[in-house]
Subunit: 243 residues, 4 copies
DNA sequence: TATGAATGAGCTTTCATTCAT
DNA sequence: CATGAATGAAAGCTCATTCAT
């Protein structure tokens, strides 16, 4: 029994090790040659397994690509969440800075793969990446932003998705500028100004302090909106209890 | 003589018509299937010509792709310049608004093709689009921004490329949000808020004017934070009940 | 009338000039790339005419090749006959020496084309060269050989086709050896020993008379040939110095 | 274990059988249509395998051709060496007769393929057969001839490559004559006279018996060597002047 | 008649996928 | 389950030939 259990465990571990090898190799090859340019045989070779074996893990090259994407974005999301969890500061802008720094660096480091993701979005009907990965990833920002609004650090009338697009759009383009223009070794040094600018931009545009001449209104509006949210929570609680 | 001249004209016209037909067909097919997925035979069929004919106009599939890209970006640049030329207003923010409006709409309308351009950037070594197209296109923004600085409407210490990345990055992401979330018919209506926000963002962050100081919010802030705490209590209650 | 006649003449001359241009260009291209490797477009370009024009002179690429071959072998035959006609000597071996010298040089100079002829013999069913060209060409040898028999210089029991095969076979192989081994500039000098050997071989084997032992001759002949070579070196040195 | 060994054996055998099938099919198709005319698909069909399989054995059509040539000439060489080894007679002319008989028959039987080999020599740059095959093959003759000289059966002053060209050139042309003129069934009967003639030709022309006892060659030899030295001096003078 | 743009059949080669071992 | 040899559909591209001008 014990032996069998151990074997099963070993078996399972072996499978997982193999699957990880496939995913790693696939990711490398996909980055290097793109989806169409990647050869399954090369992935197999790099994973040190037979070509046919891949097909006992994934139905097709497209499925494999999907799995690689899944893993990649899930990893990013976890990392981003970990970054946010590790920040002790409670202030929105400090937390945003951490997120911006993390994201910018990530985008630069994983530029090839992120480009690949976007490349697949439209063209290849087989591998159209479900938006969920991205949505999940940017949820970190969304949560942070809402909390910033809740804490009164951000204007209540700021539209979340617009702010999100500014944040991620500007950072992605900045990443491209950085990797194109700059020496690789100086990437890190170049990132700080971009991040700082992003923060000051958010402060200037989304910061609560800069709201209209009628400051009372904004403050009152915020209170009002909080009461609205509270009311909504009451409603949903009510619904649940009535089931 | 007259006949000959007419013939030559007809000849030339026919060639140009054919070349345009090829480019149009190619663009459509490339958008639909991406570079690797596009079949030369389909392009030929859609252009109503023989397959071999394409190769008397373009050396290879990659060359054709390049020509399509060239034509596309050159067209965009000309349009953008035309838009700027047609604006009578001299103020930076009014002109920026026009550019933003034009770019946002363009990105939405040509989303597929722009994505395709970016997709090619890395993977396909043969068709690596020369950066010059893009650089030429964004030069419209650069010129406008520098003029805004010269006119004293923008801070002198603003970094051009960072501002540019914010502008184009945010707009591109916004375009994606718009086309994904919204009904196609309501795209236009959705664009205005994004553009307005972009302008006000530039005013707030890059504008030269000094911002007014903020009044005392402390009392209201205290109320707000009490509501926050209340809301959190609700949340934890909610969680407990839902288990 | 006169004008018309002149025009007709000019017309005809123009046609012939064009046909010659085509044949010359075709021959060059066929030699350079072989039959399959030759492109009709290149032939047209080199002949300074349109591609389609070729097809008003020759039904197909294969027909053109045939015409080139025809012209080539007919030319060779005429040349060989001219060589024989120009020889005043009546003796078989002297005449054979002239023929051998001519043939060996011809085979070396036209090696590419002769190889091409043989290449077509089997493989390309379309362009199977009729043997008649060759038969016509070697008829010069046949006639000479028969006359040598009639004159009593050659054994009556010698088999013509065997002698012919020895003659042409040995010379063709020698030509290959010469062009492979030797420096191009020294081809001419290398040909004489081969020709001499061929003559002495025919004397020894097909000659009617019994040869005297005269052993001294062979050694002296060798000395003589060395002196010949020395003389040639003098000549070339003389030429160079006289520039 | 035994099973595994058997399997391995079967495996290997199967591979070799398949490779042989490819080579055989390729040779047949190449002979039939020439290199350019041969279609890979037909080779695959005749070998009863998939088209792609060929490319897992040979990099390209040209490589396949090369392999076919290699195998063919290596086979010929081995056969020729075997023939020579099986001859008990020690006399040069008896051994030469065996070689001539073997070669003539071989050339007739493999006429198509030999022609194909020569056809490739020039035109197709990709498949230019390395001369080594031929050189290796004719080495059998060279060895035999040198031994004949050593044994005193052949004149010492005979030039090897000239004799070789006479031998192979005459036989190849004779082979062509035989296969063209004669009924296939009578080929064999026709070969003997050609071989006999070749032997008697070698006896008459290269045989040592016709060499004089040459009593005092020493003096002449000295003259000869002096002339050689003189010639070399001229060469060096020539070189110096041409710089 | 001369032209050369247009054609499309047909080529070699690739590679995702299968399946016998 | 793992393997990798075998497959064959499908692709880009060439070029002899045609035909409208």
């Amino acid at each position: 029994m014990a032996t069998k259990a151990v074997n099963l465990e070993t078996q399972r571990a072996k499978l997982e090790r193999k699957e990880r090898a496939i995913l790693d190799a696939a990711r490398a090859v996909f980055i290097e040659h793109g989806f169409d340019g990647a050869r399954v045989s090369e992935i197999a070779r790099r994973a040190s397994i037979g070509e046919g074996t891949i097909y006992s893990y994934y139905e097709s090259k497209a499925e494999l690509m999907l799995a690689v994407l899944q893993q990649f974005w899930d990893g990013l999301t976890l990392e981003a969440e970990a970054v946010m969890a590790s920040i002790k500061a409670e202030g929105f802008f400090e937390r945003l800075q951490a997120l911006a720094q993390y994201h910018l660096n990530t985008v630069i480091v994983n530029a090839d793969f992120i480009n690949l993701t976007f490349a697949l979005r439209r063209n290849n009907s087989e591998v159209s990446v479900s938006r969920d990965h991205l949505r999940h990833y940017v949820a970190v920002f969304d949560q942070l932003f809402r909390r910033g609004q809740d804490r009164g650090e951000l204007r209540k009338d700021a539209v979340l998705w617009q702010a999100r697009d500014v944040f991620y759009g500007a950072l992605e383009y900045s990443a491209r500028s950085i990797e194109m223009t700059m020496d690789v070794n100086r990437h890190l040094r170049q990132q700080k100004p971009v991040v700082d600018q992003m923060i000051s931009l958010f402060q200037a545009h989304y910061g609560a302090q800069h709201q209209a001449p009628e400051p009372d209104n904004s403050a009152l509006d915020r209170l009002s909106s909080k009461l609205d949210q509270l009311s909504e929570k009451f409603d949903s609680l009510d619904k649940r209890l009535s089931r």
